[in-house]
Symmetry: C2
Subunit: 369 residues, 2 copies
């Protein structure tokens, strides 16, 4: 049971890491399950780069099920019969929370006038939402990928706001390779003539071609080489008349993996704003919790009151296990209680979204324990 | 001592795997060192995707040294005091050999009317060049990356044309992930409005933005995560006035790795044709020696008369060691003499081009032995 399409307007301007402040910030969110009378059973689920608040409800644009329906719901590992689950669209995104496509105070869309934000700024917005909802302390904050970054950022910067922190397939800082892949995506968008310096709103053609290429490049990094080989290998597309595929000696999508990638790109542009992609990848590239806290990651968690659980996947080469271990070592040094598991799954980084029963058990065990 | 800027026009049309034939094919090549009277000391060096014939001589466009000067020259591992080294631009490329930018029989550039070629077609062109030069049997064929594919293809399809086959950082087939990255590059080029269906020659603006994005994406795959971290980490660009870098909270290249990638992209478009990039990546994606020989790789090498040496690098995730081992097992099954070494080097796939002294020793030992 969800209460769909709620939005909260922040009563105060949101201060940002850049030194700017953003007025009239709106945060769109969904909730699932009843909030207990003592407000102690709230779980904040944080979404990834291209995710949104529709964690367990139908996406209003695509009509597809929520992105983590397998994890969130009645009797699911994040059990909405037991917990009040909140999932909000991060600022900078494009599913209802204030972002570059939103209308600025001058009545025009922000476009590239939107301030560059950080992951901590996103979390600052989420904390303001929690204030508005009257939730002083979460039962847990949970997230995978950029959602995990938010969970760690909340623990580091608002150390008494969550009793449990579950960070999956994530990192405490973006690596040079992570930044490099994001930069390719940004350059692809900004090279699209339709981008127009970000001023493509109001009926103009959007930079779909550039955004699609950005998505294709990123999508490869979400999968494992092994998973791609198993799913596609070198298999050719069947022809339209149903006969087995053959090389066409042309530039159509001969291989199934080509067709799949093109589909990922073209589907993505239907639901996502190119400028949001620029801003959110920038926030992720800027992400480095240690740097925010004097250079030592353990110091970032010195004041924490939470229990932590870190989960990595052995086939995730975007945020490999070493990144989670790095966080675990820092939490150990900070004296915080932490459990850590590397799960074996063939799906690469996307494993946190897919059918990995061992993850379900870890999530349920940590939240209910 | 090189004999620069030679070109050979094939006397016969070149038959292609697509079933088409290409007339008037020109192959541009460079040679280094004297050919022995008995013509027994020739080494064919095959270049990679974006390489060319200037293996050990100054590149006429960039003015930079040859791409393998560290390996080819007097007293170098491929010793031009001892061997006659031939390096030719593959067909489909853009440094003098016939490719999409060449003039078709109708007097207009081929553009996308150029036939889709395969790696075997490239080698067919090289073999025709060897015929023209009167070289019946090479002392060795040598190549890294796509150059290694050509070396293996020559051994499989012209089994008596080389006495030694040295294939470095390569594979006998392109994986789904390899295809996926290439497809991103092709889509980036074809999404550039300047591409114009390939008809951008003759003074029109070229699809530089798309080609640059393609190069940036590919370039990441040539390096290792470890190498990127060591070289750039999260270090920021120094400011123009020389003061230490700081986050600008904008979309300029704040991080050194961003600046480096942009530089790689913009430099590349000065020397490479976008259509050639489409055709050569397509050829690589089609590459699967086993498929050409009934599905079993060992069968491809059944008739070989060569000794083989395979070299991989432990940090190469584009063509990881398992790919070389796969070739070695097939050669074992075919009863061919083969040595194999995995070298430790931090530079990823690009290790074959960089300072890895152990590679020098392997190359020299194999060629002189």
């Amino acid at each position: 049971m969800s209460n769909p399409h709620q939005a909260f307007v922040l009563p105060e301007p949101l201060p940002l890491d850049s030194g700017q402040a953003l007025s009239g910030v709106e945060i769109a969110y969904e909730t699932y399950g009843e909030l207990a009378a003592d407000r102690s059973n709230a779980i904040l689920v944080c979404h990834a780069l291209t995710g949104d608040q529709y964690v367990a409800s139908t996406h209003p644009v695509t009509g597809k099920p929520g992105w983590w329906e397998r994890m969130v719901g009645p009797d699911k590992p994040i059990d909405t019969d037991r917990y009040h689950v909140i999932c909000a669209n991060v600022i900078g995104s494009c599913m209802g929370s204030t972002g570059p496509a939103s209308i600025a105070p001058d009545g025009q869309p922000y476009g590239m006038r939107f301030p560059v934000i950080t992951v901590r700024d996103m979390v600052r917005g989420l904390v303001a939402l929690l204030d508005g909802l009257g939730i002083a302390r979460l039962h847990a904050v949970v997230g995978g990928s950029m959602g995990g970054m938010q969970a760690l950022s909340l623990a580091a910067n608002w150390p008494d706001r969550a009793a449990r922190v579950l960070a999956i397939a994530t990192t405490a800082r973006h690596s040079a390779q992570n930044i490099a892949f994001h930069e390719v995506g940004r350059q692809a968008i900004m090279a699209d003539p339709n981008w127009q310096g970000g001023d493509y709103y109001g009926g103009n053609a959007a930079p779909d071609a550039g955004l699609s290429v950005a998505r294709m490049a990123a999508h490869i990094t979400y999968l494992s080489e092994e998973g791609l080989t198993e799913k596609f290998g070198r298999r050719l597309q069947a022809r339209k008349d149903g006969t087995p595929g053959a090389k066409t000696f042309g530039f159509d999508a001969d291989f199934q993996v080509e067709s799949y990638l093109r589909y990922q790109g073209s589907g993505f542009v239907q639901r996502f704003d190119a400028n949001s992609y620029l801003y959110i990848t920038r926030a992720m590239d800027y992400f480095d919790i240690a740097e925010e806290h004097g250079g030592k990651l353990a110091d970032a968690f010195a004041g924490t009151t939470a229990r932590f659980c870190l989960v990595s996947f052995d086939s995730d080469w975007l945020y490999p296990t070493a990144e989670s271990r790095h966080v675990v070592h820092a939490l150990n040094a900070a004296g915080a209680p932490v459990s850590f598991v590397e799960l074996s799954a063939p799906f690469g980084h996307d494993s946190f979204l897919l059918d990995v029963p061992a993850l379900d058990r870890v999530v349920k065990g940590f939240l209910d324990g």
